[in-house]
Amino acid sequence: MRVYFSYAFKETFSNLWRNRMMTVAAVLTVAVSLSLVGGSLLLKQSAAQATASWEQSTPVRVWMQPTATPGEISAVRSQLAQLPIVKSCVFTTKQQDFKEARLVISVSDLQFLTVADMPTSFRCTPTVPLDALTVETTFQHQPGVYRVTAPDQQIRAMAHTIRILQVVFLALAAVLLLSASVLILNTIRMAIFTRRREVSVMKLVGATNWFIRVPYITEGFVQGLLGSGVAMLAVWAFHTWYPLHNEFALDTAKVWGTNVVVLVAGVGIGSVGSAIAIRRFLDV
């Protein structure tokens, strides 16, 4: 057994070195594909995080008329609580709104404002940003309601765009993983093809099937490992050199999580690709 391990080890690395051009190409392929997968995952997470933060920062606001009766207010409140598309609502009193107004309105105008002038309002977070529109149409003509302000048109377009981008990134990641597998499979197929004669000789001198297979499998494994190593560096470099700002910024844990996915994918693709290639093309 020890003899065999040392044989398989030696064989794997001498094959990798002998076909170093091909090794480099395979590693490069995996690296490119997995960098893209990693990048897509980062962007996807980042977009998801930004969307979540926007949901927090731009609530639908249901403004009550300054003259609204407590009955009208509590009617709206209970209705909001029942609406499934509304995640949570906070009621702001005239005092709170007045305080907020003082922060945004210039001092010269402030003299005309009194607490009584201020409307009261509900700040509501819809379950998904696009539901804001529904909230708006529902409460617009409610008695005692002055106006409903929802995140404006651009915010809505943006949320939509981000959802499309998420779909696109996921699709890209899937296609790229597939193509990386096909390419590793192909590389190993070519390796086997160029060594067909070698394999036939091995079979004739009495090598068992596993004896022949193992070096190819470890070869694919090493290629996958190297490729995902490069991809992990690329993901890390991307994260370091192009840090995303504001709501998009990702913390280190998420980047590491992405790198773990990249590593597992690379190693899996390498081993599975070579195993399939051997099954299909080696006939051992």
């Binding site: 003899v3 065999y4 044989y7 002998r18 004669r197 070698e198 036939s200 000789v201 091995m202 079979k203 004739l204 001198v205 009495g206 090598a207 068992t208 099937n209 004896f211």
Partner: protein
């Protein structure tokens, strides 16, 4: 040791290569396989290695029907058979030493055995000085001798040799034949396909002649051909 029972083989493209061959070869025999080019000699040897399967009939080796052997047992069958191929079949990426060592590594022999026996056998075929060369850097006859060394190195029970002297000058042929005889004397069964008339005639061993896939002669202490007049 080897028994053919009504064996026939037709290749996939319809070429009939062997027709209804029945034959017994005892342990320790030395058999020459002769016949014109394309008469089925290589096919005969490939059937013994289970590189091809017979269409009809049975082939028994050491009492086992090799046609019924499960796939995973085939490597173990082959470990008992050494073979020298007409086209050498050396690994082009490995040196002469590695090519020969390979036959031992495959069957799990320890490193010490390999480092002991390989130089010895290379010396025997006259290639001690070329053990670090790649096959592409050897002459045709030298490659043939590497193939012979590889077939010998693990002391198989049966030795199949397809034209092992086809690319060798008379002197080198002679030494390879001497080696084959030595191996045969240790009890190894040798089956050798050849066109070398002088050699067959001189050795006077059992001769099996094939003609377009049929066995037309099986002669103890035979000669190469009966209709020698043609060859001159």
């Amino acid at each position: 040791m080897i028994r053919f029972e009504n064996v026939s083989k037709t290749y996939k493209n319809g070429t009939p290569a062997l027709t209804n061959i029945s034959l017994d070869i005892e342990k320790g025999e030395f058999v020459f396989l002769v016949g014109a080019s394309g008469s089925g000699k290589t096919t005969f040897l490939r059937l013994l290695l289970r590189e091809e399967l017979a269409d009809h009939g049975r082939i028994l080796e050491a009492g086992r029907d090799i046609g019924n052997l499960p796939r995973w047992r085939v490597p173990y069958l082959r470990r008992n058979i050494g073979c020298v191929f007409q086209d050498y079949r050396l690994l082009p990426n490995k040196t002469v030493f590695e090519n020969v060592a390979f036959a031992l590594e495959v069957i799990g022999r320890p490193r010490s055995t390999v480092e002991n026996q390989v130089p010895q056998i290379l010396e025997l075929v006259g290639l001690g000085a070329k053990s670090k060369n790649l096959p592409g850097e050897l002459s045709g006859g030298e490659q043939q001798r590497v193939a012979v060394a590889r077939a010998f190195v693990n002391r198989p029970l049966i030795l199949l040799a397809d034209e092992p002297t086809g690319n060798l000058d008379p002197v080198n042929s002679e030494s390879i034949m001497a080696l084959l005889e030595r191996i045969n004397r240790t009890g190894t069964t040798v089956v050798m396909a050849t066109h070398d008339k002088a050699l067959v005639d001189r050795m006077r061993r059992r001769v099996v002649e094939l003609d377009r896939g049929e066995m037309i002669r099986d002669q103890v202490r035979g000669v190469y051909g009966v209709e020698e007049g043609l060859a001159i």
